[in-house]
Assembly symmetry: C2
DNA sequence: GAGTTACGCTACGGCTCGTAGCGGAATGGG
DNA sequence: CCCATTCCGCTACGAGCCGTAGCGTAACTC
């Protein structure tokens, strides 16, 4: 729906302005930063985008759908550069994901849209397809690399079993980072990423024992806020 | 603030009606189930509670604060019965927490209030003190029991180190359950709880290997939706 | 009884919502 | 070229909620 509700790329008559689309989505993100979710109004977005309010309603039926589309593209920035080991890959994705969540428009939009989705099944599906499910590629990539390195056993013959494991890992990583940064409201820095990765890789006993040193590092490419 | 903004339990003049307090909070939860967050209005709550709108504004300045108070009490229901092992305790808290999140008023309110809090520092603190931080008692209790049983090493001499570990475990458990049930929108059933606990206790290698049997059980008291 | 505080009720200006109707602009088909 | 079609910006509208103020009354303390 939304920007995708044009069956033919060109039917007849005047085409929709692609520039208006971009202006609207940019204005939505900017307004989200300044105002937050509850004070964000369609009128304000239209005004900032230099667009009539009616144009906005012609493309998005609700504020929540507009915001999903405005924010979804930000999540596609996530990458998983090969860190050389499973531990490095996990720490890398944790830090880059948390950097994304640190941006005001991202965290505000994500939480608000999830809240709306608890009473709106269509919106829930829209979020999953536009944002959440697409990020499982990161887990799949990291897992495949680790298996190539011999750090993890190869896939089970049962595809359902494999999918379940991927979903589990995804929920644990994404959930922990979101909870740490947005609920507990504490920084996801290099130290936290290290301890979390130790817990994920080796289990509860490893982080409980008083021997989990955080190695000193000089280079820092993911921009953690240590 | 809110219901706690009475310095003296009885100052002078007519006291605030405790019945009105209960009626308002009950009406808030009920309206939240029927309408969701965005369509929930102060007028509607006042009408359902049989209370004047002005009475409502005398006690809560904003919708978000009202909802925090209305929902906070639900989280105090969480208990941690001794399951006899660390694994049983973790699975127990995962299942009871997910049962709480399955209630419409809980999930709607929690996500909406967290969304609002991303642009409201005071609200963020209110949520932490009224809801989040109080539940760390569950981690502390489970950890102490496991240490008594010898399943985990005793506390480090460094108190800061201990607090960091407790916070980490809390974020991982709560975050994973919230993400699984509210974002991925898939059931937290007995099977998921089992695999998650395996991952938490033994690390990634344990769930990736094709040997993590789910023991059959007859009794089922937490209502997993398998 | 006097003083104080909470209550229900009504009314208000201000804002946003989502829609309708208009004239005009941009495209494709005959 | 001209027409049909579709989009655009603009204005206006009834509706609903917001948060506050003012009033008379009820409940409780000293």
């Amino acid at each position: 729906m939304a920007a995708a509700d044009r069956p033919c790329p060109q039917r007849r008559g005047r085409p929709r302005s692609a520039a208006a689309d971009r202006a609207i989505l940019d204005a939505t993100r900017a307004a989200l930063v300044d105002l937050g979710w509850s004070r964000l109004t369609m009128s304000e977005v239209a005004h900032r985008a230099g667009v009539a309010k009616t144009t906005l309603y012609r493309r998005w039926a609700a504020k929540s759908e507009l915001v999903v589309d405005a924010v979804a593209v930000l999540f596609d920035e996530l990458e998983l550069p090969d860190g050389g080991s499973l531990r490095a890959d996990v720490e890398g994705v944790v830090l880059s994901f948390s950097a994304l969540l640190r941006r005001p428009e991202t965290k505000t939009a994500l939480m608000a849209v999830l809240a709306e989705s608890t009473t709106d099944e269509a919106l829930r599906q829209r979020i999953r397809s536009a944002i959440v499910d697409r990020q499982k590629r990161l887990v799949l990539a990291g897992r495949a690399r680790a298996q190539q390195r011999g750090e993890l056993p190869p896939d089970s013959s049962d595809d359902g079993e494999t999918a379940r494991v991927v979903d589990l890992i995804f929920d644990v990583i994404a959930g922990a980072v979101v909870h740490r940064s947005l609920v507990s409201d504490r920084p996801v820095d290099r130290s936290w990423a290290h301890h979390f990765t130790t817990l994920l890789l080796e289990g509860l006993g490893a982080v409980s024992s008083p021997s989990d040193p955080l190695p000193e590092r000089a280079a820092q490419k993911t921009g953690g806020s240590v």
